[in-house]
């Protein structure tokens, strides 16, 4: 495999509530010889709150990171589906609208016209590294895992900026999981929204969306849900049954990151640490694997 090198934009969740996503990303990239150089002094992309309330802000916050990436020249790698979307949408708008680019440049104090590619790790693994290259590295097959791939929104929509092979029925994550030996269960909720941006403010709405996803995953015969987004994972793990003082999990189906699945299949030693961070404990399921 040719060596690959990226400027890495970690995103806030990956050093906060989704540290296991960040750690497993670094571990699998290292194991595959993908060099990641963290973007120096990167800042938050602004997420949904940015584009929902202030247009210039929503492009300028990623604009600061794009300017830093421009100075380095390499392509940029992102793992959070939400950061990925904000980076790509902003890049496109900056490169297509010179008036906007000028405003962003004034706000940021540097040239934000980054022309390198912005890639999601799943896309790189499936399309650049290739599943044929990954398969021989599987030392521990994930047979026994019945997984439903959950793409959510921002990895697939809008299709003009996203990387998946289809907008209504993407299969990238399906094929990736199958290559690791997991049984991929078909379901039609792969790209349905979990309501992440309303998680704290309208928990009642989110509870309904999240429970429906778990019910459909159960119906599909899944024993785990695999994601590529820290917002989806947090929302699914935390919002089955909101209540003031207690905390209960009516559907104890683990929600895991695609990077964790790869690390587990490759027999990476840190995998155990990542799984400890999950709110829906995956250990009972993982024990069955052996």
């Amino acid at each position: 495999m040719a060596t690959m090198s990226f400027t890495y934009y970690p995103g806030c969740s990956q050093s906060g509530s989704a540290e296991e996503f960040g750690d497993s990303t670094l571990a699998v990239c290292e194991a595959l010889g993908i060099e990641l150089l963290e973007l120096p002094d990167w800042s938050c992309c602004g997420a949904s709150s940015g584009h929902m309330t202030n247009d210039l802000l929503s492009v300028s916050l990623p604009g600061r990171d794009l300017a830093a990436a421009r100075a380095l020249g390499r392509d940029m790698l992102v793992v959070c589906a939400a950061c990925y979307s904000r980076m790509k949408v902003s890049q496109r708008r900056i490169l297509e609208d010179e008036e906007l680019a000028g405003k962003v440049e004034d706000a940021v104090g540097a040239d934000p016209r980054f022309t390198g590619r912005i890639r999601h790790l799943l896309d790189v693994l499936v399309n650049d590294v290739g599943l044929a290259e990954i398969k021989p590295r599987v030392v521990r097959s994930l047979g026994g895992l019945k997984a439903v791939p959950y793409y959510g929104c921002l990895l697939v929509r809008p299709p003009e900026v996203c990387c998946c092979d289809s907008v209504e029925n993407p299969t990238d994550l399906d094929r990736f999981l199958a290559a690791l030996g997991a049984e991929v269960r078909p379901w039609s909720f792969k790209t349905d929204c979990c309501g992440g941006s309303l998680s704290l403010s309208r928990t009642d709405v989110v509870e309904r969306l999240v429970n429906r996803l778990f019910e459909r995953a159960e119906e599909a015969g899944a024993n785990c849900i695999v994601t590529a987004c820290p917002m989806c994972t947090a929302n699914l793990e935390m919002r089955q049954k909101p209540s003031k003082f207690g905390f209960s999990i009516p559907h104890p189906i683990p929600v895991l990151y695609f990077t964790e699945m790869l690390g587990l299949a490759m027999g990476l030693p840190d995998a155990e640490e990542w799984f400890k961070a999950h709110i829906i404990d995956p250990h009972p399921l993982l024990k069955e694997l052996v």
């Binding site: 002094d41 247009d55 929104c153 309501g195």
Partner: protein
């Protein structure tokens, strides 16, 4: 009622978002696939219709624009290539700029808290976000059980990581005309 019609609304949204709402022919595909439709006071296709009618006041005060989760399903499916989610963004931004009495003040408060956190640290930290949002929303005690579980799983970082050049981040907020609250 007639006094409240804003014939320029469609044009103003086009200026802001590049979207031509007048192209909407009310096929309702956007509403049919909207995951949050069950909670909305106006369905997405109704929002489009009211834009065509120029009923600005009703739109800037509705709940729908704030409940929209920006999932982009509608934008992907619209047969007239209207970025409906982009129109929702445009309406939200207009509502804030014009100081409208918004339909979902708690959601606005959440966004405001989220952005304040970024303005302060340059990055998002869940603990800081809760600290900003919870007391203001009057939901200080909600999610106590969840918070305990998150603490146990090491998901709550008490020492937030921040950007070194926080001045640069503040400058972006100032330039965008957003004080963060």
């Amino acid at each position: 009622m007639i006094n409240n019609i804003s014939p320029q609304l469609d044009k103003e949204l086009e200026r802001r978002t590049g979207q031509k709402v007048r192209d909407c022919y009310q096929c309702r595909k956007c509403s049919a696939g909207c995951p949050v439709a069950f909670a909305m006071d106006l369905l997405p296709h109704e929002v489009m219709k009211l834009v065509q009618y120029g009923l600005q006041e009703r739109l800037l005060g509705c709940s729908t624009v704030w409940l929209c989760a920006s999932c982009e399903t509608c934008s992907t499916r619209c047969p007239n290539d209207i970025d409906v989610a982009g129109v929702m963004d445009g309406l939200r931004q207009m509502a804030l700029e014009k100081g409208a009495a918004v339909g979902q003040p708690e959601i606005v408060l959440f966004h405001d808290s989220f952005l304040r956190g970024i303005k302060l640290l340059g990055r998002t930290n869940e603990t800081v976000l809760m600290g900003q949002y919870k007391p203001l929303s009057g939901r200080l005690l909600d999610d106590m059980g969840l918070a305990a579980v998150m603490m146990l799983k090491g998901k709550i970082k008490l020492l937030p990581r921040m950007v070194k050049d926080r001045k640069a981040v503040r400058r972006i907020f100032d330039a965008a005309g957003k004080s963060g609250g």
